[in-house]
Structure formats: C-alpha cells, structure tokens
C-alpha cells in the first residue's frame, strides 16, 4: 500500500521522535524513505533578513553554513536509520512555506504516506506559534500519520 513514505523534518526532537515510527512502517511495507528539510523562508526573512532570502533564491544555500548544517543533520538522522534498516533513501533540502513545500513534494514524488511529528500543543501557544503539521494536513490529500511528542517519554 505504501511504496514511498515521506518524513518532513526540521531536526528537532519533535521531528526525530517520529522517525522511528516511520522507519518501522517503511520496513513493514518495504517502502522507499524520503526525508525533506524545509527552511522556512518566513523565518529566514524575519530572523536573518531579506538579503538571506535572496541568497536562497540565488541557490547559494551552501554558503549559509549554519542553516545548511541544520539541514544536513536533520535529514542525516533519517538517513542513518533508513540505511540501517536496508531501505532505499532519498533526501531533499528545500525552502519556502513548510506546509506548501511538503504538500508539493508529496504530490510531485507520488508519496503514499507522510509521517511527521507534532508538538501536540493546544490553546494560546498553538494559536501563536501555529502548527506546520496541522497546515500540512489541510494542504494535502496524502494520508498523514502524526506522532505527538510528549516530553519526558
């Protein structure tokens, strides 16, 4: 049923927490594992300035060393586990609005299942910070498997 499984990740504990679930599923279905890191261009614009957004547009992501390192680390974590389980692996580093990019990637690469982590926040914090996971849910028709991150587990 699931030939290609996509794991969007930002390298955080929340994201990494979902990887084990994803790999397990992938093993059972012998699926291809795709890891996707999205640099939130909102964040780049507000936090680093719009010249940095230009930099991404020029394809000079490689020069943004800290961000590039974050990206490599995030997808690298998935790669390790996928390769240890003997699964086919692909990775991508993209920029844009995360939920849009994830949905587009899923559509363009014929992904069958998306597995991602979520803070499981509620209330004011959720309202202020928003949930990429939730927006992704609404942006795609591909089934989404959500793994809540509960601290201390």
């Amino acid at each position: 049923m699931y030939d290609k499984i996509l794991i969007p990740t930002d390298g955080s504990e929340v994201a990494n927490n979902a990887v084990a679930h994803a790999i397990d599923l992938a093993e059972k279905y012998d699926a291809e594992v795709h890891a996707l890191f999205v640099a939130d261009t909102d964040m780049v614009a507000y936090s680093l300035g719009t010249e940095q957004v230009d930099r991404i547009r020029q394809g000079k992501f490689g020069e943004m060393t800290e961000l590039a390192d974050d990206a490599k680390e995030a997808t690298g974590f998935v790669r390790e586990q996928a390769e240890a389980a003997g699964l086919d692996f692909a990775e991508r580093h993209a920029g844009g609005q995360p939920h849009d990019v994830i949905a587009d990637y899923a559509r363009d690469n014929e992904i069958d299942l998306i597995v991602m982590g979520s803070h499981g926040r509620s209330g004011v914090r959720r309202a202020l910070l928003g949930s990429v996971t939730e927006r992704t849910l609404r942006s795609t028709h591909v089934p989404v498997f959500v793994v809540d991150y509960v601290e201390g587990r």
Binding site: Q58, G59, G62, A90, R92, H93, N109
Partner: protein
C-alpha cells in the same frame, strides 16, 4: 623571487595583518591603492568646505557658463562626483592587482557547471563545494 612567486608561497593564516605595515607583496600593493584613494578622498570631500573657510572670497566667485558659485559646485557636485570616480578607479586597480597575482574570483555558474547535473532531481546531498 618575483612578487607573484612570493605571494604563492605565502600562507595567509601565518601573516599578520597590519594596516600600517603590509607584510606581503599583495597586501603592499593593495594597501598602497587604499591609502592613495583615501588620501584623495579626504581632499575632495573636506577640501572644498575648508578652502571656503580659508579663502571665502576666492571660493565664492561665480563660475562662467553654468553660474554656480564655485564653492557650491565643488561641494555639491565635485565631492560626490570625485567619490564616484575614485570608486571606479579603485575597483579597476583591484582588478589589475588580481590579474597580476593570478587571482581568479570564484563564480557561481562556473563552479556548478562542472558539478553534478543540475536537473533538480531528488536525492543528492548536493553542495556546490568541490
């Protein structure tokens, strides 16, 4: 040893950067251009107003044809114009120095042309590095 050869032997991490005492041939050439430029800049920027302070009658005479009081022209048009010309001069001199020492500026396209096929396909840890 020629300057160029001496340059090629230099490891810049070992060289002390000193604004007043350039340690390598490249720095010497570079700093010479910088100091000359800066010197001229000081004169063209602060010179006109100072000259006007010192010799107001001379400086405020009207210019033929365009009618500017000379000091006004020197300040409003002369100073910015000079800065622009100096910039062009500096950029060209630096290009010349680059050529002398065989420094080739790294170019995004050139680098990627020799790299992986840019089809934007999936995978690949990418990276424009060598």
């Amino acid at each position: 040893m020629t300057d160029v050869e001496r340059e090629q032997e230099t490891d810049y991490l070992e060289v002390e950067i000193n604004l007043l005492r350039p340690a390598t041939p490249f720095m010497k050439d570079h700093l010479r251009v910088i100091w000359i430029g800066f010197g001229v800049w000081v004169i063209t920027t602060f010179g006109p107003i100072t000259a006007t302070r010192i010799a107001p009658d001379l400086m405020t005479t009207a210019m033929p044809v365009i009618g500017f009081p000379f000091h006004y022209f020197a300040i409003a048009i002369g100073a910015p114009g000079a800065a622009l010309l100096l910039s062009v001069w500096y950029a060209k001199r630096r290009d010349a120095i680059d050529e002398k020492y065989g420094i080739e500026q790294v170019d995004n396209e050139a680098l990627d042309a020799g790299d992986s096929a840019g089809e934007g396909a999936a995978a690949a840890d990418g990276g424009a590095a060598e």
